[in-house]
Symmetry: C2
Subunit: 273 residues, 2 copies
């Protein structure tokens, strides 16, 4: 998917909501456990119910790997379902990969070509040649961990390299990498005060913002400091949406939660347009 | 496996060789492609042929994920074979994972409990709470990316935080994490001159050293600066061993290459004991 398509979907749907599909068998409605593939059944229902409010879905691969081969089958079915049924939806493999060149190429092939994701999250620690293999794929996007939303973000990311924080250095340096137009960045919503700083360095890049909702970030703050004229934001919510209910109505409940966020987004988008 | 077991195996085998199982179907002997599971057949033969010279095996998960579900099955069969046939061998899932707390727990469970690896490689960028879930597993080991062997290592890892390089900061900070006794570190062999610096900070930790052989590192240099009285080194070679031949004799050829390194190791170990 091109960046233009994504922007146009956001404008059309008046939403930049990304739904995180972090599926835990202990958290999904118990009656689904009788299904042949409970994870896929859950995802399908959640997707069908929330897709009108969301422009992106983000399965975190850890939750699928935790179930071994069965989990990978569920992941494969989920991405296939998204690509076939809602080709206009942007898909993110939240895999946080990154390795030496030829190995990163393997990951890139697995997520972009074989599974058919539009984007993948990548850790920058190993530098340029660990990220560029991902960037080489046309109309595929690499979402670089820059400033994450967890406590540990303060361990290294906000430390200063010479005069600037490591995450700013990551932002600046990565802009010069080959095919940098395919880069997006993860910026934790719980650090809205940093967003203005981020925008000084990457004014037009898409930012994937986790941590609104359950992790306590404010959508208004995120938009105030992170939004551009083309929006260039994807705001993710996982648990707050997909685990809204454990009953028969779980999908409607998820839709309800998604709608609440989307309505808030619409109000903001209407305000700037 | 406990650290003591690993050290005792190293002393017994007079080897601290780790064989990287980065299996590429285009690189394995073509006659194996007729087998039901060419990757597993290849790994089994390589393991059987080289195990007397090696104390550890390290499949890089990217190479398995690249083949989707089939690849995961091959990985599962490989680790099961290792655990059942050579329980004294140390196993490393070279997965370079790392995510927020509850997600890292998933990865830890997948690699330590479900697959049964002794250790996993983890990227430190997200800090303490992204690594500690791995550390919580008893007699399991977390190998933290500190100073990697690729070009991109100079992008961030060798940059200075205040007065010290990022990788040193990673070493120092990570020592204070809960269950830090389960930490090992990746230190690229192509940077032997840094090893002395590393040892000042982590004198007793195991270092996983990639890059000897194909990537040009020198075993002697690595030992000179990185070895301790308990050795505390694992030196990895992947391509140099497993792709020694594409013919019927590929396993013997791999054994031959492994032996060359092991003989060099033995000479060094005999010299210090």
């Amino acid at each position: 998917m091109t960046t233009e398509n994504l922007i146009s979907e956001i404008k059309k749907k008046k939403s930049f909501l990304c739904v995180g599909l972090d599926v835990d068998l202990e958290k999904i409605p118990s009656f689904l456990l009788e299904e042949e593939d409970p994870i896929f059944s859950f995802n399908k229902a959640i997707i069908d119910a929330t897709q009108q409010y969301a422009v992106a879905y983000k399965p975190n691969t850890a939750f699928y790997e935790a179930y071994g081969i069965k989990g990978w089958k569920s992941l494969e079915k989920t991405i296939n379902y998204l690509n076939q049924t809602y080709p206009e939806i942007f898909t993110i493999a939240d895999a946080k990969r990154g390795d030496i060149g030829n190995t990163s190429s393997r990951y890139a092939k697995a997520f972009f070509e074989d599974l058919g994701f539009d984007s993948v999250t990548v850790a920058p620690y190993m530098g340029k040649d660990s990220v560029e293999p991902f960037l080489a794929f046309e109309n595929k996007h690499t979402i670089l961990l820059a400033l994450t939303s967890n406590e540990g973000a303060y361990d290294f990311q906000t430390k200063k390299i010479a005069k600037e924080e490591v995450y700013k250095h990551v932002l600046k340096i990565s802009k010069s990498w080959k095919n940098a137009q395919n880069l997006m960045y993860v910026i934790g919503a719980t650090k809205a005060e940093y967003l203005a700083e981020v925008r000084k360095i990457v004014p037009d890049s898409f930012l994937l913002v986790p941590g609104v909702g359950a992790q306590g970030g404010s959508l208004k703050e995120v938009c105030k400091y992170g939004m551009t004229k083309d929006i260039n934001l994807l705001v993710n919510s996982s648990r707050g949406i997909i685990y809204a209910s454990k009953e028969q109505d779980f999908a409607e409940a998820a839709a309800g939660e998604a709608k609440i966020i989307q309505v808030e987004m619409k109000a903001i988008l209407d305000g700037i347009s």
